[in-house]
Symmetry: C2
Subunit: 372 residues, 2 copies
């Protein structure tokens, strides 16, 4: 088996304290996964991610396929080795980026024709091709190729989109099963290999979400994601969709909500029973000077911090808060210094990872007992 | 005394293995000083500089005066505290940047009127003001306000420029002596305070250089710099000017050549008897993808490195060379990732600091005996 999930404790509200055993790392869950789009979590070096105790990070298939190319990465031993990241990794399917970044998309049942946002070159992605690319990259967890339904979407549009996602999920899984043993690091890990997660879509229609979840579970993926959220809908709707889907997913498989969210959101969803989350928010906001702190959001560009010698977050003991002041971080931002994005990102990631650490600790303390 | 210099060993060729005792740090010399223009060595965090064993870094008075402002920095406890750098620091006088970066300069005997390159605001720098700003910043070593003679310069122009530099050196020293005890950290360091170095100018005229050196030595600075080099002249001329000046400088004071140079240059000048050097080259070149290695210069953008899995410098054991490949560094550069500048800068600084470390070691081994 390439992935197994230990349910250490289950709380009355549904929260799960678990452990996801992956070839490169055993990941304590619920877990927040920093996003490393182009083979780097922007502005943060790998040794710093390790010291922040990040156990799993994301790579973006669309970006890495275009540059440096998945075949080059395979030849160099896979993404772990290419970027020197020894812990766990997950790649998305490329689907979301094809829809959000590329140009001149043409979607058919077969797949998606698109032009690269980098150089306008023409490409064709199918479920099979997405899986081939992900096997070349060699992350511990791959994702099925799906269509992310936009928001808002009419029911007919959501149904059609779901039909595509379901067909592509089937093809993704079949192709993955036929080729998963080809991952470059398999022998070094005693024959263990990659895992594949299915993605629940269905727009904001509860019945479509249910239908999707049930059919994916029948197919038997290694884990299940809920996609198509945080696409502009109100938060209540996000939460409603998650609450609708979670009970339908197998208790012994990891559950992943993609692309969320703000600190209060990741905490809430973790307590509802979501095991994995990822989001560009902590790093992207950091580069724009927005810090998440125990005292709320701090826009470090604000003039009021010009001579503020207190740490970014007085309650935080990350390497940035232990060493630098708000005034210094503001200065770096004002001066356009690269170190600004680095230090802000390190703090925000520490804050996000710290939330999950705290939630895991609280889950261990409370609840009716062992989930096993 | 605020600075004292231990001459541990002197070599036949003139090279000096020494120790510069400064309030914040005892610096092993000859030493290379990374440049931290705006209160940060670009793209490299302070803890990384520490792990690279950088013992002294530069700050640029012109930049810090304009942003965030020297008074703000003084109120926050000085530059060491502001940027959280506990080791030694040196500030330049602002003179060079006023001449190279600002607009609409007007030079009189009194000082220099100029407009900020940031917002066009008008400013007036005198020797006294430069010293006031440097005392507010609070580096361990301050520099006299000078005029950097351009290259090429006619003899009459070089003489006039030298006249200004000499008058400004006198005024810098008088003002410094009257106010040096005002540095904000003085009490915390048992009454020790900042030091002031004079700067030898004189263009490429040997007799002017000699005259300048002799008169500065009469004034009695804490150390002596040779400025106005690496301004476009051929290397032979740089070396000739250094060779001309060094024998005139007191044996028991540190000697600093400003703004040089390439790896072979800093090694050569160190062996000639230069104790301190600084240059933006290792960090600036790094951001443009140029790595200095034991195998020569590596332009990491080059296509030939696309799948090169060897380390940037096979003979280097810095944190970058131990962990990452040329292919990965090339990818980061191609993808426009911030981490590119960071990792390239770390390696180049490690390379420069490593040269000085090696030279110091060799100086200890060889030579006729103890310099004391």
């Amino acid at each position: 088996m390439s992935l197994w999930f230990d349910l250490i404790k289950e709380n009355p509200a549904g929260g799960r304290r678990g452990r996801i055993h992956l070839p490169h790392q055993t990941v304590e869950s619920p877990v927040f996964m920093p996003v490393g789009t182009q083979g780097t979590v922007k502005a943060v070096a790998q040794d710093v991610l390790e010291s922040l105790e990040a156990e799993i990070i994301l790579g973006n298939t669309y970006h890495l396929y275009l540059r440096p190319g998945h075949e080059a990465i395979r030849r160099m031993g896979g993404l772990h080795r290419f970027m020197s990241w020894p812990r766990a990794m997950l790649t998305d399917s490329g689907g979301f980026q094809v829809f959000s970044l590329s140009e001149l998309r043409k979607v058919t049942d077969e797949g998606v024709q698109f032009r690269s946002h980098l150089d306008g070159s023409s490409h064709f992605f199918t479920p099979e091709h997405s899986i081939d690319v992900q096997i070349a990259l060699g992350a511990d967890i791959c994702m099925a190729f799906d269509e992310c339904t936009e928001y808002p979407a009419e029911r007919a549009r959501a149904e059609e989109s779901l039909r595509l996602t379901m067909a592509w999920a089937r093809r993704s899984l079949d192709h993955f099963r036929a080729h998963r043993d080809e991952v470059v690091w398999r022998e070094a890990f005693d024959g263990r290999t990659q895992s594949l997660f299915g993605i629940v879509q269905g727009g904001m229609y509860r019945d479509l979400r249910r239908e999707c979840a049930e059919r994916l579970v029948e197919m038997g993926f290694d884990g299940y994601a809920i996609g198509g959220l945080s696409v502009g809908e109100p938060r209540e709707l996000t939460q409603e969709m998650i609450a609708e889907v979670l009970p339908l997913l197998p208790r012994d498989k990891p559950r992943y909500v993609m692309g969320v969210g703000y600190p209060d959101e990741i905490e809430r969803y973790a307590r509802m029973g979501v095991d994995m989350m990822d989001c560009v928010l902590p790093t992207r906001a950091a580069r724009h000077g927005l810090l998440f702190t125990s005292e709320g959001r701090v826009n470090i560009k604000n003039r009021r911090y010009a001579e503020d010698q207190s740490p970014p977050d007085p309650a935080c003991d990350c390497m940035v808060c232990r060493r630098y002041s708000r005034a210094y971080l503001r200065h770096l931002m004002q001066a356009g210094e690269t170190l600004s994005g680095t230090l802000n990102s390190i703090h925000n990631l520490a804050y996000y990872l710290g939330i999950m650490q705290r939630v895991r600790g609280e889950m261990e303390e409370q609840g009716p007992g062992n989930g096993d």
